[in-house]
Symmetry: C3
């Protein structure tokens, strides 16, 4: 791909050599000839031998770079070009002879099914979807088009996935939720876990993450939401569209996270909490059961607005001084009392 | 199932139509004709078209419901009826032709072994147990009767499971614990991880949870205990009977949790801690190594009784005011001093 | 193995019967005849029937033990003897007939490849390496010698492992990192995740842990580092040599952990943090993005030196008293004021 062509695709202004051939994307620290990279801020201190650098508007040259393309959002432009230079692996359509596929499963066109996969009865695999080695698809599962199901994923009976869904290795979709009722003798009896999971279009879910099925109803992940590795999503959770949820966060049963929320890593949600559209929750925060989290930036356990969290933290750090001040006050008071008594 | 029959099974008092045919369980918000649901508290504001609602004693009619059954514990009664209406999937006995089973393994009656399973040497699979696709059972493993081992579970050599144990997809039982000794040159050398795991009857373990084998002795999960997804159970941990442990909790080596404890999600236990029978520990709490946790409700890091935790939290929230009070005191004192000096 | 022989191997001083035959290692509480165990501290109160006890220098006899071997570091000596008495399972070289191996993969000598394994194109499996049932190795992967890859592990295309690496069941190496750029319409677009993972010699990684590939560069785990179960290692993370990282810790993208660090369980690292060589971080701690953590012992969220953390905790616990002191001061002040006004 020539730089002139790249500039056109990303709608940028080209400075320098428009005929430079670019074959790969790279980090600015590692980029050399034939590579394209990007910088987000001031590029004046950068020294590189990159074939091309995508830079913020205003930049016209970068020391050592053959060519600079200026755009409004360099990272976004770079991501798009990198996606073209490094397209996702295309596996030619194939059903591996070892795969075990129910006779009444519907397999679309251009589907790849790797070694040791299983597809259960009445399941549907949409056109262009990939099941990599060892992926297990239960009965009555619907997978949309152009999905990539990575190795050793398990999707339980009755789950529904939209188009372009990516499930990374080891993901478990539709296992029973965690619900019990205590019987008269103290034994726990299983509360029914007979609901389903719906994962909408363009969702990506990280390795070894678990999405439990609904107890009676459904667990739903909204279109365009991205979930990192080792996340727990409990039964009946409703996650909106375009949310981002970082690794190891745990979402208890019946939590609702509305559209466009950003959730850090290792956050914990008590059941029935509701996070309103656009809220941002910092890593390791704890949300109490039933809590309504309004838009804004939240932090800590139990969560509070970031400003309050910071002020409170400062107060706690200042406790040493506070104690000293009180000691001083006591002494002064004592002195005054003595003075008064002396009179 | 007719409502009259249901009332008999759950020992409830029936009001309304005893001949209503019920075919499925549903949440009260989604229940319609032919569905049974339940309410826990006051039902006077509820409007439903459910075929039947299980309600607390005292209730005699619910607006729109064809029939009401009054019982002491509606949720428990509902769970039992739902289990009858939606019995766990029965897989007809089968050993899939792709399964790899050691010639000296003992396979009971009515066993289901799915595609791509392995069963190692000298292992025993009890009557009626299901191994779903891709479950791997090591050598010398004993599985009791009526267990369900979900896809891609791995059970290491020498582990022992009781009856009716459920392991959800991706569970790892019996991997090496995390124990090393530092050698003279600073390299870590493996401390022997040669013990076993024993999982007693009626235990259920959530997806992608890990139960490490004992270092020298055994790791044990007591009868009737329920463990959620993505939980870490370290080597030599002893968990009692009828405990409930929520998702993403981490239990370090040699911790003891006695019977009937309730542990929230994302809790961390330092090694050799002991939780006494009946204790309740809130989510995200941290238990220091060696700590003895007495019965009661505990919260925070390091854990403290819930009351203390709340009081302390209130104090921290009040630090702003405290600082103001001290400032006021200082001013007043200054005034008094000035007054005295003026005299 | 006779005790005389054992004493020689571990360079210890033998007291008692040097001809005792030892066949197994055991915990001191469970050791009987023919077993070897160890004690770390004072052994005067110990009563045992162990065949042999390894004890600290100075110990010459332990009540009931047939023989005592005194060494500088009993636990280390015990670990070494236990490793000899209980060597890791040797699987005779074999390629299971069900395994699917690319025709251009290079398989070394003495390799074990279990049932339902896959090895992709151009991948190399070093001499003496074991792939247990269901392990999936992508394309262009290099595995060193004497590695043990446990069941259901997945290693993504292009990853490189050194010698003697142990990956426990369910580990995922090289899945895409969590990186997106928000487009003009609010949709998240994937930032390229096209880098690699390098795992150096003698690394051990616990069950269901995830090591993401670099976004553009590489994620690297240094030689001799040990990582526990359910840990998250993000893209481009650099972990040094001889680090120990306990279960459920989460390491965000581009974090650097230098050599010889000790990280507790459930710790969270914000992106681009750097932990300097030799630092120790307590369980459940939280490290802010970009933070530099100097050598020393750290605790809490946000992390602080352990001493400060303890002092701060004590202050917070003392807030009750502090409030009372302020109340007292107020009263006294009021009294003085009244006294002054009376004059």
């Amino acid at each position: 791909m020539r730089t002139r062509e790249i500039a056109e695709i990303i709608g940028g202004k080209l400075f320098g050599n428009g005929e430079t051939e670019i074959t790969a994307a790279a980090d600015i620290s590692a980029a050399g000839p034939g590579r394209i990279s990007f910088v987000k801020g001031d590029a004046s201190a950068i020294e590189t031998t990159a074939g091309c650098v995508i830079a913020p508007e205003g930049a016209e040259a970068i020391s050592g770079a053959e060519c600079v393309i200026a755009v409004r959002d360099p990272k976004l432009a770079f991501a798009r070009i990198a996606a073209l230079l490094h397209p996702p692996k295309v596996r030619p359509p194939e059903i591996h002879p070892t795969a075990v596929i129910a006779s009444d499963a519907e397999i679309g066109e251009g589907v790849f099914i790797g070694a040791f996969c299983t597809v259960g009865e009445r399941s549907t695999i949409g056109n262009g979807t990939h099941l990599r080695a060892g992926a297990k698809i239960g009965d009555g599962v619907t997978l949309g088009e152009e999905c990539v199901i990575h190795p050793n994923v398990f999707i339980e009976d009755g789950s529904t996935l939209g188009d372009r869904v990516i499930l990374h290795a080891g993901v478990v979709v539709g296992a029973d939720g965690f619900g019990y009722v205590r019987g008269e003798s103290g034994e726990y009896e299983k509360f029914p876990q007979i609901g389903t999971v719906v994962i909408e279009d363009d969702v990506e879910i990280g390795a070894n993450t678990c999405i439990d099925r609904g107890a009676l109803g459904e667990t739903r992940i909204g279109a365009g939401t991205k979930i990192d590795n080792l996340v727990q999503v409990g039964h009946n959770v409703q996650i909106g569209k375009r949310c981002v949820i970082a690794a190891q966060t745990g979402i208890s049963g019946s939590v609702t996270i509305e559209d466009d929320c950003v959730i850090g890593g290792q956050v914990g949600f008590g059941d029935h909490a509701r996070v309103q559209s656009g809220a941002v929750i910092g890593s390791q925060a704890g949300v109490l059961p039933g809590k309504i989290v309004r838009p804004g930036v939240w932090w800590g356990t139990p969560i509070q607005p970031l400003d309050e969290y910071k002020r409170q933290n400062a107060h706690v750090k200042g406790l040493d001084r506070l104690k000293n001040e009180i000691r001083e006050l006591k002494k002064k008071l004592e002195k005054i009392k003595e003075g008064n008594e002396d009179q």
